[in-house]
Subunit: 380 residues, 2 copies
């Protein structure tokens, strides 16, 4: 696995509720932007990988059909919330194996047209049928976490406030309004103690990246940002938690990713982390090794994970503010990482970012007993 893989271009749609657009057209917007950003013609693309959790069959072929890209090999990948990140891993592996030199990776979903993320996949999915959907599960985790750590509901609100303070600078974010702790606490209760603004919104969108082998990237002049790790693991019972508040799945995947990259959590300058709920950010701080067990609240309060902090988390606004069209999220994280590593992130730029981590985890879409976590690490 020593061959190098570079990200030569990225692009995404604004995340939003777009029920009147067709997902095929949403996907093409992201593809067009990524190709333009990479400066490659569509004929240069040798393989396509498409991550989508909800948006139907032959998704990659659907998006490309009206785009003059009907002959290229397309591999559609699904892994719930980690669908897009898993597609990145498959593309990187195909390049490392020498199967292709230039690959396009697309992530896409359209929740307004094709259903949300917490309904049972089949009638025998016990958990969602008895009400154990993701908001309920994370609410219980939040209760336990606050009990164990001495954190407060205001801390959870601060996670959302931080997300919006960053996301207001992100033109691709679903929400661009600054909010206060009072706004969060006053928003509608979803699953006690999680208010509406502590839960990621439903929405639609697509994001894409052009990956190249070292040879192709050097010839093309884009041998700048490398993918140095792409780890994937599946979860244990209840989407991979070893108890109510510790994600064994994310811990294990992070360990694999750090090993592959030959770095540790202290080397990470910025992270795009799967904050589907405010409590998730605190728990995943710990699981990713950004702080010790039980220290998530203290890390949040320290300000180190804000823009300007030394371990900035979710400068994009994260799932809470940028949004979470499921299969698109992993690629949106790649976009954000690349913009920061290039110094192109504008007012939300993480200064001097050299090492970025993207983290997706989930699986509760149709039953909570199976999950997957995918972590990519990029360096410039």
């Amino acid at each position: 696995m020593s061959a190098q893989v570079y990200v030569s271009g990225v692009g995404m749609t604004k995340f939003a509720r777009m029920p009147d657009r067709h997902f095929e057209e949403i996907g093409r917007e992201a593809v067009r932007k990524a190709l333009d950003d990479a400066g490659v013609e569509r004929a240069r693309i040798e393989e396509v990988f498409c991550g989508s959790a909800l948006t139907g069959r032959s998704m990659g072929q659907r998006v490309l059909r009206d785009f003059g890209m009907t002959g290229v090999p397309v591999t559609n990948v699904e892994n719930a919330c980690s669908s897009g990140s898993t597609a990145v891993r498959e593309a990187a592996t195909a390049i490392r194996a020498g199967r292709c030199d230039v690959a396009l990776v697309l992530g896409i979903d359209q929740l307004t047209r094709l259903g949300g993320g917490t309904l049972p996949g089949v009638e025998t999915d016990m958990d969602p049928n008895i009400g154990m959907v993701n908001p309920a599960l994370y609410a219980m985790r939040a209760r336990r976490y606050l009990h164990e750590t001495g954190g407060t509901r205001e801390d959870l609100a601060e996670v959302a406030v931080k997300a919006h303070a960053a996301g207001k600078h992100n033109p691709y974010a679903q929400y661009r309004n600054e909010i206060t702790v009072a706004d969060v606490m006053g928003s509608r209760m979803i699953a006690d103690p999680l208010n509406l603004f502590m839960c990621c919104p439903t929405g639609d969108g697509a994001a894409a990246a052009v990956l190249m082998s070292e040879k192709a990237a050097r010839a093309h002049g884009t041998a700048t940002i490398r993918i140095v790790a792409s780890a994937l693991q599946s979860g244990l019972y209840k989407t991979g938690f070893r108890d109510m508040v510790h994600s064994e799945l994310t811990e294990r995947t992070a360990a694999k990713a750090y090993e592959e990259a030959g770095i540790g959590p202290k080397d990470i300058n910025m992270a795009e982390l799967h904050d589907a709920f405010a409590i998730a950010e605190l728990m995943y701080y710990e699981a990713l090794g950004f702080c010790g067990d039980g220290e998530g609240v203290a890390l949040l309060r320290s300000g180190r994970t804000r823009i300007g902090g030394d371990i900035c988390v979710n400068p994009s606004g994260g799932l809470l503010c940028r949004g979470h069209p499921i299969g698109a999220t992993g690629l949106a994280q790649i976009c954000e990482a690349v913009w920061h590593l290039r110094g192109q992130a504008g007012p939300r730029q993480v200064e001097g970012a050299r090492v970025a981590l993207t983290h997706c985890t989930g699986g509760g879409i149709s039953g909570l007993d199976h999950g997957s976590c995918a972590i990519n690490i990029l360096v410039s």
Copy 2:
């Protein structure tokens, strides 16, 4: 792409209508059989790839959950009729890239529980909404093919007769009855000129294979059957036909596969070919290079593609007789190829089989304008 990949074990369920079984349990039966055949414990499996076109989300994780395999990386792959074959390709590539040494590949679908193969995927899928479903499309192709070649409806019936003559010996086939031309011609008309027995049945099933790197296979004593090519291509308009009767998609994919394997169609001893309809077998004879354009009927009549012929096609019974639980088909083809290459196929054995080709193509599941074709070539 020079690293070798071996098939160390295979297993499958009987294909059948099994509405009372849960697809997770159907999948586990195939996994158990493949692991037993390979002689490996589940803990040896480093990665899992699951191909499924219909059967829902996080399919691989679902199957493995109650099987004590909840930590391993799982990549779910979808490519319509080529889902299982695409999963094989991803697994082989992961091994070639050094990402893992022992991978499990599963193909599965359950049409009786989760819908058939010709309904619109989304409401905007024009073709199926106006009645242009796969049986209708292949019926038109059949009319044109017979017109151009001088073939007859009895020739189409002979394809089904040949399939059942082989499949009656296959304990995993959905149908095991021998049929006559009169039986086929007397069966219910589906889409003129295609009678019921000229169309593959709907059904359920799963099939699996254990793939190993050369190092692992040699250590394990299973370095016998190699995957020497895994080609994937997407289709042009109307699932990849360059006119009514010539599959440009299969021609192009076959050319890639032959190039990768360093062999030609004359080297193939047996093929498992995607005969979703009787006419398809004749057209794909030509597209795979087993005969020239317009010579499919003559090849069929020659008997060379029967068991005992020098280019035996579908000794399993093919889709027409063994059945076609969509995502499972590609892996069932791998199973059949391996059994013949090992000399374990019993009364349907292709004597002296050394080189086997498996061919899946499709995409009309939800609109006919996008398709994919996957071809794997195995040698012993």
